[in-house]
Amino acid sequence: MKLLTLAALEPAELPQARAESPAHHRELREWTAAIRAGDAAAFTTFYEQYSLRLYKYLLVLAQGDERVAREVLQTTVLKLVRSFSVFDEEERLWAWLCRVARNAYIDFCRIRQREQRFVPLPEQAMELPEAHDEHRLSISLQHALELLPDNDRELLRAAYIDECPLQELAQTTGQTYKALESRLSRLRQKVKLNLLQHLRHETGS
């Protein structure tokens, strides 16, 4: 089993402009037009593909505050549904989604500011480019993993990046399947906690 090194967890490359074919443009246009027209199946496909990505973006905006990110995700999706636009480039679609999410987050902060009177409006929400959410999350993930012992990092990599079957991993680690599942669950929780803390401190500082 390979050791999970920091090099392996370098921040994912920022999304680059991909060469998209005219057929892809047409498909995207038809798909977004269907969502705009109220096609439930098209919306479901969209939601399956973009909800988690939007959530990650909002998690960075909300400085690791899961509750806020979830609440704003809900508002964002409802806003999107009410006035979906038609796009023929994935990049432009994603940029628009981020803009709607950012505006929803800013609105959320303004409302909270009015209610509490002392919460400052996060300036970084105004500045965060769409492409940097995954970058920041990768950095936070990297830091979160650094806090784990080597064997735990190794196990996470094998299970979630290399996608080794759990039965095989259980045999390798000399644990029962159930015990391995529990261990992975605890590790995920720990990494998540560290990741959110890093996001909080990184964006707060």
Binding site: L9, A12, E13, P15, H24, E27, L28, E30, W31, A37, G38, A40, A42, F43, T44, T45, Y47, Q49, Y50, S51, L52, R53, Y55, K56, L59, E66, R70, L73, Q74, V77, L78, L80, V81, R82, E90, L93, W94, E134, L137, S138, L141, A144, L156, R157, A159, Y160, I161, E163, R188, V191, K192, L195
Partner: protein, 142 residues
């Protein structure tokens, strides 16, 4: 169709960390809310389209009624007033129209025509009553 969002191998680990029971619950809730709003938006759009169509149809009916009313009730040109046949004037050509009586009175007294009635030639006087009473010959016929 399905444009695939950006992803990297690290996303798998990140997703495994972020996706938990709470996420699944939220995902389901937001999805059903989205579908509800989508349906409501679609119905609203249909309602607006129906209203717009009805408004267009009503406007077309009103326009038609207005055009029809104007064409029926528009005042005739002065010279074409049926109550004043003697002064009838052609609107476009400027020609004069006269009644039958006027036309007959233009002929000299005692005028007649040779007409064929039921295969027989007859002399028809334009002034039938005058013909019954007889005509006075003028001095030049003596």
């Amino acid at each position: 169709m399905k444009p695939v969002p950006e992803s990297s191998p690290h996303d798998k680990l990140l997703n495994a960390v972020l996706i938990d029971d709470e996420w699944h619950a939220l995902r389901g809730t937001v999805h059903s809310q989205g579908l509800t709003v989508l349906e409501a938006a679609r119905q609203g759009r249909r309602r607006r389209i129906r209203l717009a169509r009805a408004a267009c149809a009503a406007a077309a009916c009103l326009l038609f009624a207005d055009v029809w009313y104007r064409s029926v009730h528009a005042p005739l040109p002065h010279g074409l007033d049926p109550a004043v046949p003697h002064q009838a004037v052609g609107a476009s050509a400027g020609a004069h129209f006269i009644s039958e009586q006027e036309m007959l009175s233009m002929f000299p007294a005692g005028s007649c025509v040779l007409a064929e009635v039921e295969g027989q030639k007859q002399l028809v006087f334009l002034d039938a009553a005058g013909a019954q009473a007889g005509f006075v010959l003028s001095s030049r016929f003596h």
